[in-house]
Amino acid sequence: MKMTYKRLAAILWTACLMCTLLSWRAEGQTSRGTDIAVVVNPDTPISDLSLADVRKVLLGERQYWSSKLPVVLLIRAPVARERDVVLKVIYQMSEDQFKQYWVAKIFRAEAATPPKIVYSNDMQYELVTAMPGAIAFVDARNVRPGLKVLRVDGHLPGEANYPLR
């Protein structure tokens, strides 16, 4: 028995060391480009989120803005730059890992539906303005009137230290 616990301690120690060494790298950031704005339906009772909060929303760990207003998550279809930035900076996942994450999330009964996939900025704009609780990620140059742009970590797109770019 003593040998087994010693073996366990050795395995745990080695694993911790490996985790520390292997995960030691810079935060996922895309090559510098235009900022990606986080936009919500104007009726959403929120105007500032930390990057950690944005991550919680995207991971489906925060599913309600308030008890009466569920989050409706909109994500651009693959290859759009907005999606690349969201995957690399927030999810820190590859395209496959992202798909697998949502299959598992629904399978675990932690969410009833995956994020809605939108194929263009027009579609995204229409959906955010029409659906209460909707949140989407838009190239800051394409933000249109009628959307509410959230501050992320206290910064708006275009400001220094804005984290989504």
Binding site: L8, Q63, G146
Partner: protein, 423 residues
């Protein structure tokens, strides 16, 4: 073992052929990217044209300037541009209507696997076997009410068994309070609620012994109600689940689906943290208490404590779960402890588009000689495996296992192969 090698070679050849037939992904991606860029340009052009008639009255057009910091208030108060083209307006509205949630909606997903095993254990034969066919249903009945169901079809020597693994209706009040009723995977530890029956979701071919489906060590299922949600805790990312239910049935590997066999309800509580600053880490602890009643009238109090640590980002992946099952007989007051744990490590290699993931798992389980509820479950096992994700939704897994059970019995070596997928 030779036959096993032949099969491995055949699978490798098939995988190679399938790989060769797939179109070059990078070329497709480039084409799609070019098309999307074109769509973006056209959208911008349409937006400019739409904005022209309104430009005289709306003076907040500065939002389109790349360096300008959009002011949320300005965005909110600004007038919505009116579409200049009737047809486009109709198309957008139709798309929006299509995307809006409709109730009830239903999503069906399936999981399946096909396995091969060959061991040097006397009295066993090598061969293929059909794993579980698993169907999962998720249905939103309203914005706050959801149904989740899971059914499995499992092959046996003379027939198939169909089992309702989970059937849950859940009402969400908010992120902090969600109540559900039905048949669950008991929220003890990590693995039992992270992977359920979908073999494709697991890195390894099979579950660890302490959470084995059909095993007795952990009560895998639970019939009753569960309250769960987040705990306001800032960066600690705490969450909880607390449940009350029937607990173990007459056959202790099964829950009391059709009613409890005593008047004592089982209860379970699980707390875990996903710290904000350590994205990917989960640390948790669970307790479970039940009264086990055997047909002969013998009663035992069961007390399960469990702790887990999981780093799930894949590069590396690390899962460790420790559990102890304590039984105390009501009449004799004899108490026994049954410790068990597993530690699993995996690393997604940076080559081949991160499709290869070697992993290792060590498992340990001990039942004392005077244990009266479990038959002997002793196990010390090492598993060396390789997972190859052939696509986003299908994987090949290969494992070499070396296990020893009772002292004095020979060590068993085995080769295990699996292809698992979701559809």
């Amino acid at each position: 073992m030779h036959r096993g090698l032949v099969v491995t070679a055949m699978l490798a050849l098939a995988a190679g052929a399938a790989w060769g037939q797939s179109p070059p992904a990078s070329e497709q991606a480039e084409q799609v990217k070019a098309l999307l860029e074109r769509v973006e340009q056209l959208e911008k052009r349409v937006a400019e044209l739409e904005a022209r008639p309104a430009a005289a009255s709306v003076t907040t057009a500065a939002v389109t300037a790349p360096s300008a910091a959009p002011n949320p208030e300005v965005q909110q108060e600004a007038a919505k541009p009116e579409p200049s083209h009737q047809m486009e307006g109709h198309m957008d509205q139709a798309a929006v209507r299509q995307m809006e949630p409709h109730y009830p909606n239903l999503q069906i997903r399936g999981f399946a696997d096909m396995d091969f095993s060959a061991t040097d254990q006397k009295g066993t034969t090598s061969g293929f076997n059909l794993g579980q066919l698993d169907l999962h249903l998720a249905s939103a009945l309203s914005p706050k009410i959801s149904y989740f169901g899971e059914m499995t079809f499992t092959a046996h020597p003379t027939n198939y068994t169909v089992e309702v693994e989970r059937s849950i209706i859940r009402y969400d009040y908010n992120d902090y309070f969600k109540i559900s009723f039905g048949r669950y995977h008991t929220p003890i530890g990590y693995w039992n609620t992270a992977f359920h029956h979908g073999a494709w979701l697991e890195t390894s071919i099979d579950r660890p012994e302490i959470v084995k489906v059909g095993g007795t060590y952990t009560p895998i299922h639970f019939v009753g109600f569960l309250v769960e949600g987040n705990i306001p805790s800032g960066g600690a990312g705490l969450a909880y689940s607390v449940g009350v239910g029937n607990g173990r049935g007459d056959t202790i590997s099964r829950p009391g689906d059709a009613g409890d066999n005593n008047n004592n309800r089982a209860w379970v509580a699980n707390v875990f943290a996903r710290p904000v600053k350590l994205y990917g880490l989960q640390i948790g602890a669970s307790v479970y208490r039940d009264k086990i009643t055997f047909a002969g009238g013998r009663n035992f109090r069961e007390w399960i404590t469990s702790a887990h640590l999981a780093w799930t980002r894949g590069d590396p992946e690390f899962l460790a779960e420790f559990s102890n099952v304590n039984h105390r007989q009501y009449f004799t007051n004899v108490s026994t402890n049954n410790p068990g744990f597993y530690v699993q490590m995996g690393y997604r290699l940076p080559w081949f588009e991160k499709t290869l993931k070697p992993y290792y798992r060590f498992e340990y389980l001990h039942t004392p000689e005077n244990e009266a509820v479990f038959t002997n479950l002793d196990l010390v096992e090492s598993i060396f495996g390789l997972r190859y994700d052939i696509s986003s939704y299908a994987a090949f897994k290969t494992e070499y296992r070396r296990a020893s059970r009772l002292p004095g019995t020979p060590t068993i070596n085995g080769l295990f192969l699996q292809t698992s997928f979701t559809f």
